[in-house]
Point group: C2
Chain length 505, copies 2
């Protein structure tokens, strides 16, 4: 009996590895499309990508495979607690269950609406024409309600959607912590704004030659632990990190020769994602224990390196002299203090992707609250732009003049990604929780950074987070490592400590 | 009946297009492997490539598909002469027939021997240890004899192998023309060597900054008509041209900052291949009428742009002033004449890939003659190194000191590529035949080149060669365009004319 169960489990694993192998080919198609492909190839590339993703989807929903997973999950191997086999079976069963709960007609309608919705959104945003986008926006939320009902949920329909990005997390828990955060963050940002202090950000808008930015960014990414022997850095329009195999993780950025932050902090951010991917066990590649557990944990890794490390004074105590040598025109006569203040400018703004470390989370809060209201039906597509603007006024003290710079600024809702936004702030929260623990366990991270020592932190993260893959859920993992549940306190402590000093509040 | 035949034909075409779509994904895997991929990914990339090529192979040998092609080929649509449908059917039938004639066990043994053979060859070449390579070399020719017998042939077993690279060409025909060529070329090269003249080739070994080489090579490739909106240029170790879709053709090169020729003429060569690929009808992509007809015709396009255009005085009358501006240190005080002489240095040498335009064909002749002798059994693997060295002495007046620089210098035989070599010289022969005709029809190509006008020649080639895909066999095509069969005369006229002037003979 057990022997047969083992054989069946091995067959399932072999099948999943082959599916992942095929999916990794799709990842190369996408990486190439976004970095190297001549634009004229777009149409044929779409056919190539559709072919591969169709084959991958077909494999995951194959009747025989689904039956085998169900059989293994009902068998003796599934009940061995934290044993690798049992965890693997549970994770696979979870994926399968979600796939088979969704009727094919709904999956197709979601895909069709996302495709049409994105095209409509692009045009609507360009022309600031919300009316053009509205029907797709309404339809998306209708379908998302159906998706939530089909999947089932514990307390709220939003649980079912959040689960796609943050498995096993609950809306109520996130809402509670984010409400705490909002209560503290809104007055903190207000205090910063009324501090009377402002950095000279023009020094970030001087001449930063692109090739030097690339060399400096590469040096910094390597220093924090991104392994260029198992990865690369390329240029793209909308930066991302792609994993193409157990030893091939590629990060991307875009350069602006008159703005330092975009590429540099973007590279640290993507390198953070990449370091997580490179820290997953290569021999489990394509299996649950070789894959990232959640978007929140993934984002915690990128934000940690981008913000908690990359925007710290200690980091620049080490790197600023190099930056001055590399960018003599821009930084030759700047001081470390003025540079540090400039990269930590806090300023309420309308566009999420350009927001600073503190106000960023308010952008997310607004989206998270609106998503729940839109999904429950408390808010309609007609009233959504007004609600958006009102929340911006309330939390950030400013409101957009156009819907293009307001409710239509993000691609997510047009693409059917509902429940995704909170993972950005979960990332910030987890990052601070992990950083505080690492700081205690390793004994003073900033002193290490000031000497250019980043390896201890990377190794700690590898040991505590990366190597586990999907063995523990995100919240279990953070609890095991930090001893605490999700909490807004570490992030708030970090922000208060840093900005208290910078802004003298 | 005809309606059913049309429906079946359409189904076959649809299937073939899907197979090509999948194969094009494999081409991306290979392009990426050779240009961008981190070396650490090699093992997983091999798995990805094997998966895709296995699926493509499975599709081509699928029983239902094979039966459908046979049915269409036996039906009314196949007999309409030069009609597109009839040609398509004949080409597909040809491919299928060759595939089904080879027993699976032989295909697998060939693949296994090629894989082991290449590994053994790499090591054997590095250590100059022919004995290590010999068993694989013998075995390869044994298997190639079996392959030829399984496929069948008209006059000689070599016909069956040649057909893989130069469909419908016959060994006897190629042998006759290459023997003509040899009789004239050996004394021509000897006359050049005893002319007493020698160019100063040191000016090609001055400082040529890599980034400037890239910019200049790109400018030249664009000038001769490679479309960078539908392609790109990257760096690799062993340059190649890859087609990934109807509007995505990528060329590659390698740079040596102390040698001008390698990258520049390499780029023109690959751009020549690329211009052919870009000239195939995009709406026939993945079907016989959208694919190159033979390696000989492909090579005729690369050699034509590399040698007949790129090494002409007229080309440099236009480009030399630019080259001087771009490379002031290397060429600032060089004359057009000295530069032109240097890039047309004729010098018997041991290594095929480094050979000049004239002696190159003697390297090919040696290989072509040896392949036939090895296949027939007239020559054994034991005697092959001696035969190789003797032929080098006879045709080129020099002989290698080691087998590494002799019989083991090329990858082809270790990889099971027998019958491939003559297509290089077929390319040179066809290039001269086509160039002579174009020169007459367009009225003086060199005068155009001197003014930087390359578009008329590219458009002529597109009209006469590229757009036909596989509609005509290589020899039919050249006969249609030039009025002549394969002949050594145009190439000899070109070489005599050029070197007669350069070397005063």
């Amino acid at each position: 009996m057990t022997q047969a169960a083992h054989a069946l489990f091995e067959e399932v694993c072999q099948y999943v590895r082959q599916s992942s192998l095929l999916a990794s080919v799709g990842s190369l198609l996408e990486w190439d499309e976004r970095t190297k492909m001549p634009a004229a190839q777009a149409e044929y590339r779409a056919e190539q990508a559709t072919l591969i993703s169709g084959m991958v989807h077909q494999r995951w929903t194959d009747d025989k495979f689904v039956a085998q997973v169900s059989e293994v999950a009902a068998g003796p191997l599934a009940s061995n607690g934290d044993d690798e086999t049992a965890v693997t079976i549970r994770r696979l069963k979870r994926v399968i269950d979600k796939k088979i709960k969704l009727p094919r007609s709904l999956v197709e309608e979601l895909a069709r609406t996302a495709s049409l919705g994105q095209s409509a959104w692009e045009l609507a945003r360009r022309e600031n024409d919300y009316a053009r986008f509205k029907p797709f926006f309404s339809r998306t939320y209708e379908l998302k309600r159906q998706q939530a009902e089909a999947l089932g949920y514990k307390h709220s329909p939003y649980d079912a959607l959040l689960d796609d990005y943050e498995p096993e997390e609950l809306t109520g828990n996130v809402a509670r912590v984010l409400a705490d955060l909002r209560e503290q963050l809104v007055p903190l940002v207000a205090a910063i704004r009324s501090s009377g202090r402002e950095p000279d950000t023009t020094l970030l808008a001087r001449e930063y030659p692109v090739d030097v930015q690339e060399a400096f960014g590469t040096e910094a990414a390597a220093a924090i632990g991104f392994d260029f022997l198992r990865g690369r850095l390329d240029v793209t329009a909308h930066p991302f990190c792609a994993t193409l195999g157990p030893h091939d993780c590629r990060i991307t950025t875009r350069y602006d020769n008159r703005f330092f932050n975009a590429a540099f902090f973007g590279i640290l951010h993507e390198a953070g994602h990449g370091i997580y991917e490179q820290g997953l066990p290569p021999d489990r590649f394509g299996m649950p224990l070789g894959e990232a557990i959640s978007l929140g944990i993934h984002e915690s890794q990128s934000r940690l390196w981008e913000n908690l490390v990359g925007r710290s004074r200690a980091f620049w105590q080490h790197f600023f002299p190099t930056a001055q040598k590399r960018f003599p025109v821009a930084l030759g006569n700047a001081s470390l203090d003025s540079f540090y203040f400039a990269i930590n400018d806090v300023r309420p703004s309308l566009i999420r992707v350009e927001a600073d470390e503190a106000t960023y989370n308010l952008h997310i809060l607004i989206r998270f609250e609106m998503e729940q209201a839109l999904l429950s039906g408390d808010l309609t597509a007609d009233d959504a732009p007004g609600a958006w603007n009102e929340k911006y006024r309330q939390y950030l003290g400013i409101a957009p003049a156009t819907n293009a710079d307001g409710i239509m600024q993000d691609v997510h809702w047009s693409a059917g990604l509902v429940g995704y936004f909170p993972t950005y702030t979960l990332g910030n929260l987890y990052a601070s929780q992990l950083f505080e623990t690492a700081d205690v366990e390793l004994g003073g991270l900033h002193a290490m950074f000031a000497c250019g020592e980043f390896q201890p932190l990377r190794d700690w993260l590898r040991e505590k987070i990366h190597r586990h893959g999907q063995r523990y859920s995100a919240s279990e993992l953070v609890k095991r490592v930090t001893g605490s549940q999700l909490s807004s306190e570490p992030l708030l402590r970090h922000l208060r400590g840093k900005y208290g000093e910078v802004y003298g509040i």
